[in-house]
């Protein structure tokens, strides 16, 4: 937002690009979970574009992005976040878009030293080089600390009116935001990618391990954002809706999975991801009962629906909480 405004202040025509990777935090959990419904459901990229009065192009890169997540040349950060490869990928895609649409250069809001992996003094040139953007990549917020880029050398933009922010502090950005009159903006360092989230990364790593390959489909990574995930056996895991909003969301997937739901008590919709036999189904039913309102009842009726839509009911004793091994819970 700030970088774009700095450029607009110099009379540069700016348009925004927002890449959808499938791992975006924004919106999804708010859209799913009923308890979050009261929160404003704005897409920050659209909101920022409106504040700036610029066009925004939202581009679905979820398929090509898989290679970034699965085979990051520069490795992962603290979790399964391939930040440096991600940055290079996005700048390259932005460059391709810019060239196809008659734009002269690209800008990002990066600041030297702000992030431990992708925004270090030694890694920022890596993004320039590997994206192919070279000196057509301008970082208006820290440009004075970097060699002059093509737009600066050619006089398309005035280097003196760019900035020299560095380090992890957001104070200079907040001061600049105040100068521009921005009263509301996305929370700095709030994390916009599920891959930086430890719990999410554990679930993704478990998915890869259980399938014996590092791959995923969009539905897989969407489902990792929803529900309580339990893996009682290597061959299957359960995705258990935690509340009405999640149950409604999981409803959309029930035809693709064997699924269970209590019928004698209020309780969750549970998807079975993997292959199960009758004894596995009984275990799944006991766990379903455990997370239902019948958790303290002697028996709970749980309806099981197979992939052909055939239904049968199991009468089971809810599994006591202290019998659920911690390592089942992902």
């Amino acid at each position: 937002m700030l970088a774009a405004k700095v450029m607009q202040d110099q009379g540069v025509h700016v348009e925004g690009i927002n890449f959808f990777t499938g791992f975006c935090v924004e919106g999804h959990t708010h859209a799913i979970r009923k308890k979050d419904r009261a929160q404003p459901k704005r897409n920050n990229a659209l909101w920022v574009a409106e504040q700036l009065g610029i066009k925004l192009h939202i581009i679905d890169v979820s398929q090509p992005y898989k290679d970034v997540v699965i085979n990051p040349k520069h490795g992962y950060g603290a979790n399964l976040n391939p930040c440096l490869d991600c940055k290079g990928f996005m700048v390259k895609n932005a460059l391709d878009w810019a060239e196809a649409n008659g734009f002269d250069f690209i800008i990002t809001g990066e600041v030297v030293g702000q992030r431990p992996m992708s925004q270090r003094r030694d890694t920022m040139p890596v993004v320039q080089r590997e994206s192919g953007a070279g000196d057509r990549l301008v970082r208006p917020l820290c440009a004075k600390l970097l060699p002059p880029t093509l737009p600066e050398r050619e006089g398309w933009i005035d280097r003196e009116r760019l900035h020299d922010f560095s380090g992890r502090s957001r104070k200079p950005q907040m001061q600049l935001a105040e100068r521009f009159g921005f009263k509301d903006y996305a929370q700095p360092a709030g994390g916009c990618c599920f891959l930086t989230d430890q719990a999410y990364s554990v679930k993704l790593a478990d998915l890869w391990k259980s399938r014996g390959e590092r791959d995923y489909e969009l539905d897989d990574i969407m489902l990792l954002k929803v529900g309580r995930h339990l893996r009682p056996r290597p061959d299957f895991k359960l995705i258990i809706g935690r509340e009405e909003g999640e149950n409604n969301f999981l409803e959309g997937y029930r035809r693709q999975f064997v699924h269970l739901r209590p019928t004698s008590h209020v309780g969750p919709l549970v998807l079975v991801d993997g292959s199960v036999d009758e004894s596995d189904l009984e275990l799944a039913a006991r766990l379903t009962a455990r997370y239902s309102k019948g958790r303290d009842a002697e028996t709970v009726s749980v309806e099981v629906t197979d992939l052909d839509g055939e239904r049968h009911t199991l009468e089971v004793a809810p599994m006591p909480a202290d019998e659920i091994p911690q390592d089942w819970i992902l």
């Binding site: 959808f20 919106g27 859209a31 897409n43 990229a45 659209l46 574009a49």
Partner: protein, 78 residues
Amino acid sequence: MSRRYLDARRLLCPMPVIRVQDEVGKLAPGDELEVTCTDPGVVNDVPAWCRLNGHRVLDISHNENNEIVITIEIGPHG
């Protein structure tokens, strides 16, 4: 003037916006697009995208399945 229909149910934002964006690109000024969605975020996101790109939201309503139906008129620049 033609009217097209888009099914964006079960998609979470920003996918409905991306689908709208792709579909609008195939339409001419004055055409209408009716998109059906289930993510409540579309009530904010689709109108915001339309405002940014010069299109007009004609109507936002709920159908008999309580799904959100948004009708868009394509702006003068397509």
